[in-house]
C-alpha cells in the first residue's frame, strides 16, 4: 500500500487548474453577437448624443476679444506695453435674456501654462504656509527665487510671478447711466485648493509673515494685499491667485473670473447694452496671444460642448450603419448556421 503511494509520488494533481481545464467562457465575436451589439450600442449612443446636443444648444456663450491688436479696437491704445495703468472700455449688447447664473471668464490664447519648466517653477511648501520656505524658497523657483538684493520672493516662481492681472468691471447701460453688475468672487477656485492645499501662514496680521520677503517682480502689490476689499481673500488663498495657480492644460484656455449671481442679475443678464471696463495690464504681444472675456451659463455637463454630442451621434449612427452593412454582407453570402 505504502509502496503504491510512493510509486505515484510525482503524479501531477488532476485538478481543473493544473490541467488547464477551468470552466471558461469563450466569447465569440460572431455576427450573431456583434450585429445586435452594434445596434444596441448605436441606439444608446444616439440617445446620449441627442441629450448632450440639446443640452449644449441651450447654453449661451458670448466671447469678447479685447486684445487690442487691431487699430479699431477700443483697447488698441492699451496694447502698447509702454502704456501703464491703461483702462479701456468695451461695449456690447445682449439681445435677449442671458440666463443665469452667468459665469464670467477671462481667456488667453497661445499661452503655455503647461510649459514644463514653467509648471515646476513654484514652491508647494511655501504655498502651504511653511514659513521656512518663505526665507529660503525651493530652487525650483529659479530664477524667481531671490530678487537682485538676494531677498526671497514670496510667492516664488514663474507661475505666481506671471499671474494674470487685468481686472474687469461690467456695467449695464440703463437709460444712459452705468449700472454696475455685481460680481461674486467667492468659491471660484477649487474647494480643496482653498481649504487644504494652499494655506496662509498662521501669523496675524498676515503682512508680518512676509517681513523680509519681496513681492514677485511682476506684481503691483504684495500677496497680502491682493484684494483690498476683503481682508480674508488675501495671501495664498486669494481666489484669483488660486485660479491662476491651477495651470491650464492647453495653450488656449479660459479661467473663471467671477460669477454673476446677485441682485438684479441673479436670473441672468437682461437684454440691453453693456459696457465692460478693463484695467489693461497683462502683456500678450510677446507670445502672439489674445485676451478675451467669456460670458457663459452652464448646465449639468459644464460649459458649452457641442463636440461630445455630435461625437456620440456620429458613433451611434456609425454602429447602426455598420451593423446594417454586416447584415447585408452576411445575407449576401448566405452564411451557414454556426455550429
Amino acid at each position: 500500500m505504502v509502496k503504491q503511494e510512493q510509486e505515484i509520488a510525482s503524479r501531477p494533481d488532476n485538478t481543473a487548474f493544473t490541467q488547464q481545464r477551468l470552466p471558461a467562457w469563450q466569447p465569440m465575436l460572431s455576427a450573431g453577437i456583434v450585429i445586435p451589439g452594434f445596434v444596441l450600442i448605436g441606439l444608446a449612443f444616439i440617445g446620449i448624443g441627442v441629450a448632450l446636443f440639446v443640452t449644449s444648444q441651450s447654453i449661451t456663450v458670448m466671447e469678447l476679444d479685447y486684445t487690442g491688436v487691431e487699430r479699431t479696437s477700443p483697447c488698441f491704445r492699451c496694447s502698447d506695453p509702454n502704456v501703464k495703468n491703461c483702462v479701456c472700455q468695451l461695449d456690447f449688447s445682449i439681445a435677449s435674456l442671458f440666463k443665469g447664473p452667468v459665469f464670467f471668464y477671462y481667456g488667453l490664447t497661445n499661452y503655455f501654462q503647461n510649459y514644463r519648466r514653467y509648471g515646476v517653477s513654484k514652491d508647494d511648501d511655501q504655498l502651504s504656509g511653511d514659513l521656512d520656505s518663505f526665507t529660503s524658497p525651493s530652487d525650483t523657483c529659479s530664477p524667481y527665487e531671490y530678487d537682485s538684493n538676494n531677498k526671497p520672493i514670496v510667492p516664488c516662481g514663474s507661475v505666481a510671478n506671471s499671474m494674470f492681472n487685468d481686472t474687469f468691471k461690467l456695467y449695464q447701460i440703463v437709460n444712459g447711466t452705468k449700472k454696475q453688475v455685481p460680481f461674486d468672487g467667492k468659491g471660484i477656485a477649487w474647494w480643496t485648493d482653498y481649504n487644504v492645499k494652499y494655506r496662509n501662514p498662521s501669523v496675524t496680521p498676515l503682512r508680518d509673515a512676509f517681513n523680509g520677503t519681496v513681492k514677485p517682480l511682476f506684481w503691483p502689490r504684495p500677496a497680502y494685499e491682493l484684494d483690498p476689499s476683503d481682508p480674508a481673500n488675501n495671501g495664498f488663498i486669494n481666489q484669483d491667485f488660486l485660479v491662476w495657480m491651477r495651470r491650464a492644460a492647453l495653450p488656449d484656455f479660459r479661467k473663471l473670473y467671477r460669477r454673476i449671481t446677485e441682485g438684479d442679475y441673479a436670473q441672468g443678464l437682461p437684454a440691453g447694452n453693456y459696457s465692460l471696463e478693463i484695467a489693461y495690464n497683462y502683456p500678450v504681444l510677446s507670445f502672439d496671444g489674445r485676451k478675451k472675456v467669456v460670458l457663459s451659463n452652464v448646465s449639468w455637463m459644464g460649459g458649452k460642448n457641442e463636440f461630445l454630442g455630435i461625437a456620440y451621434l456620429v458613433i451611434g449612427s456609425l454602429c447602426i450603419v455598420m451593423s446594417i452593412i454586416m447584415l447585408i454582407v452576411y445575407a449576401k453570402f448566405k452564411f451557414p448556421e454556426e455550429e
Binding site: 460572431s30 456583434v34 514663474s158 495651470r247 484656455f253 507670445f287 455598420m322 452593412i325
Partner: protein
C-alpha cells in the same frame, strides 16, 4: 573526543611557523602547476598525518568542501548589480535614470525616475538572494554530512565531516551511504572485491553499477590496512566525463596497475548491496566528476526572443524618431515666439538658452519622457510567463507515465515557445519509436532457421527439430551470451534498495552446451515438429536462487532478450561473477565457465567478445557477437560447408531485416594457449596505458577477433511503442517533416518506417546512393505538370556511407535540395556524429526549426545540435535525458507536447509580447501627442507616480496571466486538427506584419485616446492633471479591454485579474490623490480624480473614447470570423473567432471583404480627424 581534538589541531596549524612571502608565492605557483598538469601524482596522506599544511603532499589539490553560492554576504549588492548590468535593458534604464539627474535635460524629479528600475532590479536581486541562500543551506548541509576517514594515530576510521576529506585520504563508506568524494576503490566487504553503486543522483539511472576494487595495493587480509598503501597513484586531470577515468598505481617496485572508471566511486553515488567499501580519495570537492557535471540549467535563446530583440531595436528607432520630432518641434516653437513670453523660464542668471541648444537638450528630455516605449518590464514578464508555462507543461497528467512515475521534465527553461514552431523532427528509432523491449523471435543456427513463439512460454514453444539437436544448437548460441551481463548478481538483498522500482536481479545468465561444439557441426536436418517441454533447472544444492525468480538486467535489451529466451529453453544463467559464469542445463547440471576476458562493445567495431575457458574441453574459446556486417568480414576463409552456412545465414539475416527484426551474428573461435598467453600480455599492457588506452585496448580486441567461425544469427523483435503511428501521422498533418536516423540496417529501418506510417504503401521510395540521379529524378517528378497538385510522395532512404558523401561541403546543397522534395528521409547505419551533422546541415541550410528526439547515448550529439532536444527516459540510461531540453517517457507524448503545449506556449507568448509593445506604445504616445500642445517642453499631464503605477501595477498582471493561461483553441481541437499547428511555423503569429499592425493600432488608439478628450476639453478651464486623469483612465480601459478582446477563454482567474486591475487602479489613484497634498512637488494630484469622478462629463468622455478606440479591432476580428465562416474551411469554422489567415486559401476573399470594412474604417478616421 573527536570534537575536542579538532580545535586543538587547528590551533596548532594556526601557530604554524612564519614563512617568507616568496616561499608562499613559490608554493602557490607550484600548486597551480600541479593542478594544471595532465597527470597528477597522489600519495597517501597517512604518513604525513598531523604535519603542518606546508608539508602535506596533496596540499595543492582542493579540499572536499564545496561552495556553489554565487555571492557572499558582504559583496552581495555589488556582485548582484554587476550581474544584472550584464543585461542591456537594465543599463539602458539606469542610464536614462541617471540622465534625469542632469538638470538641463530632466523631465521628472530625478529621484522618482529611479523608482521603476530600482523596483525591477530589487525584485531580481531578491530572487537571486533567495536562490543563493538556498544553495548556501544545501552546501552547508552537504559539507557537514558525517563520513569516516582513516586516522593513523587512532588506527581506525574516525568520524569526520565531508568538508574534512582531502585528496589522499582513505574513506570508508557503508551500504546505502552516499560517497563523499571520488574514491579509487581499494577494498570492499565482498570477497570478490566488488561494490555496487547507484548513480541516480548523477545521471538518473536507477540500475546498479558494479565497481571493482584495485587489488594488491594494500594489505587487506584479514583486515584492511590503509597504512600499507605505499603506491603512487597517477591519475588524469579532473574532467566531467562520468563514464571515463584513467589512472594507474605505481608500486614501490615500479609495477604499474591500471584502473579505470570501473574502480572509481563517484561522489554523490549511493553504495548498495555492499556492506563497506574503502577508497582512496583522488578528486575532492569541486574537482569531483559530479561537481564538474553540475553546470546548472541550459541556456538557449529561443527564436521568438531573437525576433523580439529586433523589434526592440525597431522600438528604439521609433523612440529616436519621436524624440527627434519633439526636439525639432521645440526648436520651431521657440523660433516662432515673437518675444520672451512670461511662461518661458530663464535659468538662474536670467539667461535663456538659444533655440538650438534648447532643442538639443530637449532631445534627451524626450528620451526620458518617452522611455517607456521600450518595455521595461517585458523581459521580467517573459521570464514569469515561461515559469508559468513550464509549470503547466510539467503538470500535465497526459504527459505523465505511471509505469516509471515520471512527468515530463523541462530542463531548458526558456524555449517553451519553440515547441510551437517545429518544422523538422529528427528521431532515433530504437527506444524512441520502438519500445526497446526486445523479444527473441527467430534464430538461425548453423544455417538452419528456427522460430520462437511468443515470450518463450516453455510449454508451448514449438520447435522445428529434435530436442537434442536443439539443445546442441542453442547451447552454441547461448554460450555467446556470456558476456552479456553487466548486471550482476545482487545478493538476495540484505537491504532492499530504497528506490520505488524493485530490482529482482537475483542473478544472471547463461547457457551452455554439454558437448563441445565442434562435434555438433555435422548434425543433420530437422526431423520433425516437437514440442519442447522445458523444466526448471534443478535446485539441488542451491536453495538460495531458484530459476523461477531469476530476473536479469543487461546493458542492452537485446542481450536480456537472449538470456530470457535461453532460460525458456532450460539453459538458465545461474550466476555471473567477474570471473565466472554459471549456467544450468536443462538436465539440471551446472557448468561453470571461467571468464578470461571480455572485449567490450564499441561503436567502431560494432561487436563484443568474451574469452572463456571451457569447463569440459578446457579450451580457450572466444565467442563474439555483433552486427552482421561487422562479423561477416571477419569469418575465417570460407570453404564447403562453412560457405554454405554463411550464405544461408546471410539469407536468413536479410529475411529478418525485412520483417523489421534486429539481427545479431554469433561466432566462435578456439584460441590456442600460446596465442592466448602472448595476447594476454599485450592486453595487460594496453589496459595499464595512460595514453590512448581506448585505442590500444581496441587494437588488442581486433587482434583476437579474426578468423571467426560463424555459429548463427538471431532476430529480435523490437515492438513499436504505443501510439507511434498516430503521432507520426498527426505530426505530419501538422506540417512537420519527420526524419528517422538510425544505426540499423536499411531494410529494418524501412520496415519500421512502414509500420509507423512514416512511409505509405504508395510512396515512391528512393533508396539511393547516387545523389545526383536521385535529385534529377525527383526534380523531374515534381516538375512534371501532372504531379503539380499532388503532394510529393517521395521518401528517401540513405545509408551512412552515402550520407558521409552527401554531407561533404560540395554536395550538401544538393542533398538538402533533394531532401526538401521528399516527404520523409530515413538515414540508416549512421553514427552519432553523422546524426548531429544531418541536423546541423538541415537547420542551417533550410533555416528551419528542428527538434531531435532520442533515448540513447548515441543521440546526445543530435539532441544538442537541434533547436530543441528531447530525451526519452527509456531503457538505455539517462544520457539522452541529461543532454535534452525536455524529457518525456514515450514518443506519443510528443503529440500533445508539440501540438497542444507548443501551440499554446507559442501563441500565448507571441500575443503577450505583441500586446506588451502595443501597450507601451499606446500609453506613451499620449504623452507624445501632448507635446504638440505644450511647446514640446516635455510636460507630462499625468502624475509621474501614477505613470509608474500604471505600468508596474495596473496593467502588468493581466498580460502575464494572458501569457500563462490563455487558450485560443481547446486542447481537443488542437489534437483533433493538427493543421492548426502550422500557425506557429515559419514566421508564425509573431511576425513583421502582426507587430506593425499592432503598432499601428497602438498609434490609432493613442490618437483617439488623446484627441477625443482634447477636443472635448478645448477652450475650457481644465488644468493639466485634471486633463490627464481622464486620459489615464481611458488608457487603462482601452488597454485592458483590448486585452479582453484578445483573451479567448475567460476563466475565473481572468475575471479576477482584469476586474482586480481596474479596482486597484481606482483604489490606488483615489487613495493617492486623496492623501498626497504636497508629497510629490511640483505636481499636485490632490483630489483630482475625486473631482473628475463627480463630473458626468468624465464618464461620457471615457465611454465614447474607449468605444471609438476599440471599434476597429472589434470590427476586424468579427470580420475575420465571418470570413472564416464564409470560406467554410474546416479549421476556421472550429476556430471560435480566431483570426487565422496564414494558411487558408480564403485569404483573398478575406482581404476583399476586409476592404469593405476598411473603407468604413478610413471614412470614420477621416471624420474623426475633421472633428
Amino acid at each position: 573526543m573527536n570534537n575536542k581534538e579538532l580545535p586543538r589541531k587547528e590551533a596548532s596549524r594556526a601557530a604554524m611557523t612564519w614563512r617568507s612571502p616568496l616561499a608562499l608565492l613559490r608554493d602557490a605557483l607550484r600548486g597551480q602547476r600541479a593542478r594544471e598538469k595532465e597527470l597528477r601524482n597522489l600519495v597517501s596522506n597517512l604518513p604525513y598525518e598531523g604535519l603542518e599544511k606546508g608539508k602535506q603532499p596533496n596540499r595543492h589539490f582542493p579540499g572536499n568542501a564545496i561552495k556553489t553560492t554565487k555571492y557572499t554576504l558582504l559583496l552581495f549588492i555589488p556582485m548582484n548589480l554587476f550581474e544584472q548590468f550584464h543585461r542591456l535593458a537594465n543599463i539602458y534604464f539606469v542610464g536614462l535614470a541617471i540622465l534625469n539627474f542632469v538638470p538641463v535635460v530632466n523631465a521628472f524629479q530625478p529621484e522618482v525616475a529611479l523608482i521603476p528600475i530600482c523596483i525591477i532590479m530589487a525584485l531580481t536581486a531578491l530572487k537571486d538572494a533567495w536562490e543563493d541562500f538556498r544553495r548556501y543551506q544545501s552546501d552547508r548541509k552537504l559539507n557537514n554530512t558525517p563520513c569516516l576517514i582513516y586516522s593513523r594515530k587512532e588506527k581506525q576510521f574516525m568520524e569526520r565531516r565531508w568538508k574534512d576529506v582531502r585528496v589522499g585520504d582513505f574513506v570508508k563508506v557503508f551500504c546505502n551511504e552516499i560517497v563523499p568524494a571520488d574514491l579509487l576503490l581499494l577494498h570492499t566487504s565482498d570477497p570478490n572485491g566488488v561494490c555496487h553503486i547507484e548513480t541516480a543522483n548523477l545521471d538518473g539511472e536507477t540500475n546498479l553499477k558494479q565497481r571493482r576494487a584495485m587489488s594488491g595495493l594494500c594489505i587487506s587480509d584479514p583486515e584492511f590496512k590503509p597504512e600499507s598503501f605505499d603506491s603512487l597513484v597517477v591519475c588524469e586531470r579532473p574532467n566531467n566525463n562520468l563514464n571515463h577515468f584513467k589512472c594507474y598505481a605505481e608500486k614501490p617496485d615500479k609495477e604499474k596497475v591500471g584502473a579505470g572508471i570501473e574502480s572509481l566511486l563517484l561522489r554523490g553515488c549511493t553504495v548498495r548491496n555492499t556492506d563497506t567499501a574503502v577508497g582512496f580519495v583522488v578528486y575532492a570537492g569541486h574537482e569531483t566528476k559530479s561537481m564538474l557535471n553540475n553546470n546548472g540549467p541550459r541556456y538557449k535563446r529561443s527564436k521568438l526572443e531573437r525576433k523580439l530583440n529586433i523589434d526592440v531595436i525597431f522600438c528604439v528607432i521609433l523612440l529616436f524618431a519621436m524624440c527627434l520630432v519633439g526636439s525639432l518641434g521645440h526648436f520651431v516653437w521657440l523660433q516662432k515666439q515673437p518675444g520672451v513670453p512670461p511662461y518661458l523660464v530663464a535659468d538662474s542668471n536670467g539667461h535663456l538658452d538659444s533655440p538650438g541648444l534648447s532643442a538639443f537638450y530637449m532631445f534627451f528630455t524626450m528620451i526620458i519622457l518617452l522611455q517607456v516605449l521600450i518595455p521595461i518590464s517585458l523581459y521580467v514578464s517573459i521570464e514569469l510567463v515561461k515559469i508559468g508555462q513550464i509549470f503547466f507543461i510539467a503538470n500535465d497528467i497526459d504527459l505523465y507515465d505511471e509505469e516509471t512515475d515520471s512527468r515530463v521534465q523541462c530542463k531548458a527553461l526558456n524555449i517553451t515557445e519553440d515547441l510551437g514552431q517545429i518544422e523538422y523532427i529528427f528521431s532515433d528509432k530504437t527506444g524512441t519509436l520502438t519500445e526497446n523491449k526486445m523479444v527473441f523471435r527467430r534464430c538461425s543456427i548453423m544455417g538452419t532457421e528456427y522460430a520462437h513463439k511468443e515470450n518463450g512460454n516453455p510449454l508451448h514453444c514449438a520447435i522445428l527439430f529434435k530436442q537434442n539437436e536443439l539443445m546442441q544448437h542453442l547451447s552454441l548460441l547461448f554460450i555467446v551470451i556470456l558476456h552479456v551481463f553487466i548486471y550482476m548478481h545482487i545478493q538476495p538483498a540484505p537491504v532492499a534498495p530504497k528506490r520505488n522500482r524493485i530490482f529482482s536481479e537475483d542473478s544472471v545468465i547463461e547457457e551452455d552446451h554439454f558437448n563441445p561444439p565442434v562435434k555438433t557441426e555435422g548434425s543433420g536436418a530437422i526431423s520433425g515438429l516437437q514440442t519442447c517441454s522445458l523444466h526448471a533447472p534443478s535446485q539441488d544444492g542451491k536453495p538460495a536462487t531458484t530459476s523461477d525468480n531469476l530476473s536479469y538486467e543487461a546493458e542492452s535489451p537485446d542481450e536480456a532478450a537472449l538470456v530470457y529466451a535461453a532460460k525458456a529453453y532450460g539453459f538458465t544463467l545461474m550466476g555471473r561473477t567477474p570471473n565466472s559464469v554459471t549456467v544450468s542445463l536443462p538436465s539440471g547440471k551446472e557448468l561453470v565457465f571461467e571468464v578470461l576476458d571480455t572485449l567490450a562493445f564499441d561503436s567502431v567495431r560494432k561487436r563484443m567478445s568474451i574469452l572463456v575457458r571451457h569447463p569440459i574441453t578446457k579450451e580457450y574459446v572466444l565467442y563474439s557477437k555483433g552486427a552482421d556486417y561487422a562479423i561477416m568480414e571477419l569469418l575465417e576463409h570460407l570453404c564447403g560447408k562453412q560457405k554454405s552456412i554463411a550464405a544461408d545465414t546471410q539469407r536468413h539475416l536479410d529475411c529478418y531485416a525485412r520483417e523489421g527484426l534486429r539481427t545479431l551474428c554469433f561466432t566462435k573461435k578456439v584460441v590456442s594457449e600460446k596465442e592466448y598467453e602472448s595476447w594476454s600480455v599485450n592486453r595487460q599492457r594496453a589496459l595499464a596505458a595512460m595514453e590512448n588506452r581506448e585505442e590500444l585496448t581496441m587494437d588488442t580486441a581486433v587482434q583476437l577477433e579474426t578468423n571467426l567461425s560463424l555459429l548463427g544469427a538471431t532476430g529480435i523483435e523490437d515492438r513499436l511503442q504505443e501510439g507511434v503511428p498516430d503521432t507520426i501521422v498527426a505530426l505530419r498533418e501538422a506540417g512537420i517533416q519527420v526524419w528517422v536516423l538510425t544505426g540499423d540496417k536499411p531494410e529494418t529501418a524501412v520496415n519500421i518506417g512502414y509500420a509507423c506510417r512514416l512511409l505509405e504503401e504508395e510512396d515512391l521510395l528512393a533508396c539511393t546512393s547516387i545523389l545526383d540521379c536521385a535529385l534529377e529524378e525527383v526534380r523531374r517528378y515534381s516538375n512534371d505538370p501532372r504531379n503539380v497538385d499532388t503532394t510529393p510522395d517521395i521518401s528517401l532512404v540513405i545509408d551512412g556511407r552515402t550520407l558521409t558523401m552527401a554531407l561533404s561541403s560540395d554536395l550538401q546543397e544538393r542533398f538538402v535540395d533533394l531532401a526538401k522534395h521528399c516527404r520523409t528521409v530515413l538515414c540508416c547505419r549512421v553514427t552519432p556524429l553523422q546524426k548531429s551533422r544531418v541536423v546541423k546541415v538541415v537547420r542551417e541550410k533550410l533555416k528551419v526549426m528542428t527538434l531531435a528526439i532520442g533515448d540513447g547515448a548515441n543521440d546526445v550529439n543530435m539532441i544538442q545540435a537541434a533547436d530543441i532536444g528531447i530525451g526519452i527516459s527509456g531503457q538505455e540510461g539517462m544520457q539522452a535525458v541529461m543532454a535534452s531540453d525536455f524529457a518525456i517517457s514515450h514518443f506519443k507524448h510528443l503529440k500533445k507536447l508539440l501540438l497542444v503545449h507548443g501551440h499554446w506556449c507559442y501563441t500565448r507568448l507571441a500575443n503577450m509580447i505583441i500586446y506588451f509593445f502595443y501597450k507601451n506604445v499606446a500609453y506613451v504616445n499620449l504623452l507624445f501627442w501632448y507635446q504638440f500642445f505644450c511647446g514640446f517642453s516635455g510636460t507630462a499631464m499625468i502624475d509621474y507616480w501614477l505613470m509608474i503605477f500604471f505600468n508596474l501595477f495596473f496593467t502588468s498582471v493581466p498580460p502575464i496571466m494572458f501569457g500563462i493561461m490563455d487558450k485560443d483553441i481547446s486542447a481537443e481541437m488542437l489534437l483533433g486538427v493538427p493543421e492548426l499547428y502550422r500557425m506557429g511555423q515559419g514566421a508564425g503569429e509573431y511576425n513583421f506584419k502582426t507587430f506593425w499592425i499592432s503598432m499601428l493600432d497602438a498609434f490609432y488608439q493613442s490618437l483617439v485616446c488623446f484627441f477625443i478628450p482634447y477636443i472635448a476639453y478645448r477652450d475650457s478651464d481644465i488644468d493639466v492633471f485634471t486633463f490627464g486623469t481622464p486620459l489615464n483612465t481611458i488608457s487603462l480601459f482601452t488597454i485592458l479591454l483590448h486585452l479582453s478582446i484578445e483573451i479567448k477563454a475567460w476563466t475565473v482567474v481572468h475575471w479576477v485579474i482584469i476586474l482586480g486591475s481596474v479596482a486597484i487602479f481606482f483604489i490606488v489613484t483615489l487613495a493617492y490623490s486623496g492623501t498626497c497634498i504636497t508629497c510629490n512637488p511640483p505636481s499636485n494630484p490632490y483630489w483630482i480624480l475625486q473631482t473628475q469622478m463627480a463630473d458626468p462629463m468624465f464618464y461620457l468622455i471615457c465611454v465614447i473614447t474607449t468605444v471609438v478606440a476599440l471599434l476597429p479591432r472589434v470590427v476586424f476580428i468579427t470580420d475575420s470570423y465571418a470570413v472564416c465562416i464564409l470560406s467554410s474551411i474546416r479549421q476556421c469554422v472550429c476556430l471560435r473567432g480566431v483570426l487565422w489567415s496564414s494558411v487558408s486559401p480564403g485569404t483573398k476573399k478575406q482581404q476583399h471583404l476586409f476592404g469593405t470594412f476598411y473603407l468604413v474604417y478610413v471614412a470614420f478616421s477621416c471624420l474623426l480627424s475633421c472633428l
